[in-house]
Each structure stands twice: as C-alpha cells, then as structure tokens.
Symmetry: C2
Subunit: 216 residues, 2 copies
Amino acid sequence: MHDILVEEEVLAENERFARENRSHFVEKGIFVLNLVSSPGAGKTSLVERTLEALRERVRMAVIEGDLATDNDSRRIGRLGIPVRQITTGRACHLDAHMIHHCLDWIDEVAPRLLIIENVGNLVCPSDFYLGEDVVVTIISATEGDDKPLKYPFIFRKSKALVINKIDLLPYTDFSVEAVKGNALVVNPHLTFFELSCRTGEGLERWIDWVKEVAGL
Amino acid sequence: MHDILVEEEVLAENERFARENRSHFVEKGIFVLNLVSSPGAGKTSLVERTLEALRERVRMAVIEGDLATDNDSRRIGRLGIPVRQITTGRACHLDAHMIHHCLDWIDEVAPRLLIIENVGNLVCPSDFYLGEDVVVTIISATEGDDKPLKYPFIFRKSKALVINKIDLLPYTDFSVEAVKGNALVVNPHLTFFELSCRTGEGLERWIDWVKEVAGL
C-alpha cells in the first residue's frame, strides 16, 4: 500500500511536468514524437532515416535517452541535426522532468518536429507521459509476434506500431498478420507500418504519415 | 532525495526476501538460474531446449515472469515440466518477494534445477536479486552489438552471456566479436555462448555449462 502511494506520487509529479512540457510545445508549435521499443529494435535507425527524409523540409531536433553511452547522439550528430543526450544511469525510462530540463535547449534550436528516443524498454516508458503528441512503438520482425499481448500497456498507448527489419522475415517464424492481430486486441486504433530501415523498404509510407500527423 | 530513500527501502526489503530465498535454495539443494533479456531475444526457447536436453537427467521446474498472458508457461507445460506463472501486471521485473511466494510450490515439485525466466527487460531486473545462483543474459544477434555498453548493469551482474539467433548472422550487421568486446568492457568475467535455439547449433556447449555450474 505504501509502495502504491509512493508510485502515485511519482506519477502525479510526472504528470505535472508533462503538462508543462505539453503547454510549452503547443505554444511553440513543436510536434513531439516519443519513440519506444525493446533494445535493438531499430529506434535510432528509424530516427536517422526520418531525419534524412525530412531535413530539407523542416527544422528538427532529437533527444536521446540511454542508461549509458552517447553512442546514439553521436550517430544523430553526424547528420548535423541538433541532438541532446539524456543519460539516465539506472533509470529505465525517460520522465517528464528530464524533458522539462531540455526546454531551454529546445527553444534555442527551435525545431518544428522533436523526436524523443526513449530508453530501450517495452515496460516502464508506458507509465510516463512526457508531453508528447504521439507515442510510436517499434517491434522488430525477430522479436516474436506475441509481444503486444505480453507487454500490452505500451501498445495501448501508441498511435502507431512500426514493424521493422522486415528484410529478415524470410529467416524467422514471425508472422506480420499475427502481430497485427495481437496488437489490435490491445489497441484497435493502431496504424501499422512494415518497413526495413536497412533496405529502405516501406519507409516512404512512414515518412508520409509523419508529415501528415505532424502537419508538416 | 525522497525518491532515493524510497528506492533504498524497496531494495532493502527485496534483499531481505532474496536472502530468505537463498537460504531456502541452499538448504534444499536447488540450483537457481535467473534468465534475463529484452523481449523476444529467446528466453523461453532457451528454457525449452534446456529442459529437453536435461529432463531425463534431473528434476527441474520453471517460474515464468510476464506482465500479462500465460503463453510462456503453457509452452513449458507442454513439455510436462512443473511451471508456475507470475503475472506482474505493470511491474517491470520479478522481485524476491514474488519468488518467496512460490517457495511452497517449489518444495512440492522439488526440483534440483530451477529456471526463472524474468520479465523481458534489460534494465530493471538488474536491481532485484532473487536469491539465484547465477544470472544469465541473452542477447539476440539482431539486437545490435553495442547493447552491453548501453545497458551495462545487467551484463555486469551476469555470469554468462548467451548470443542467440546466430542463424540470422548472415543477414545482419551484428558482429559477435564486437558484442563480446563490449561485454568484456563492463564485465571481464563473462562466459560466452553463441547458439541458435532454432537450429540447435551451439546448444551442446550451453548444456554442458549448465550441468557444470549446477553440479548436475
């Protein structure tokens, strides 16, 4: 009971910061995408492909969340896009307070589209609203098609599900139909994308969707 | 500061239950293996292969941790091995208290080897000692070879690192040498296994190791 009360306090504090972030983003006209997945499903690759496709069209910025290392922000930095690394230490998710600390930097770089790459974790990020417009979850075609049933909360919170690494489908037992069916059980409103960040297949539809939801 | 104190209390309570579990396991001569990985890296498949290989030799039991569904315990149940499902709801890891609740059941089924399949998460399980003998982490050859640097705590706590899905290596940019090098940076004592639960390649060495560490 004590634990639950404490958790509620933590979440209430998160909510407070998230709303402040939200007001800030709305006021500045920044569309915010919160990308979530297991470790290694391809979040950074999808960010890279998205930046490459949209860099001529719109100002963007990226926040990278990781327990340790700045590998991902260095990858993004190579593209010449403003990037901020949040190193969470032992924390298993980004929270709204961490994003709140980035607001001054966000104002400085003034993006129209802000992509937040969360810590690789299908569980904990689902509890922490950051003030984003949409959550997008990525699953890779090597992870097993029952994941939406086993980790339902993050799929329920997502607007879209990106099925990445479809170039590996011929070598796995993964069924795209099964993962979609399972995902729709927990969230009937999901939009699906099947793509490969490696080969580029299917990326165009994803980019079109980002432009549409972000009003770019 | 308040958050940190609360976390310390939670971990101190976990430690107390973990020590009770540990005493229990030692007293009953049960070797306990705590399996950790990202969602979809192949924990359940490795448990299945291990049970198949050792079922004639030794009594075993399995505890399955998942946020939702009993898919995995039904997979294990098909092999006729005693299995207990812990459904954690929103909790992102098993804790020692949950395992403590299983002690009566463990005594009933009296295994010599108990395999605990943790919730699919490379972050949170690293903080919660369950009273096990060894932690083994699984990474799949599709996840990216920098994961030990980005999620160092669980790799540091592990005795062995299983690199699964090596049948997919020809189709990815994953480097086994790089992942081993990165893993040794965070834990120089790791033992490595390269295998494919799908094709069976490399499983023999893993089974030999389990027999050796568990004294079977």
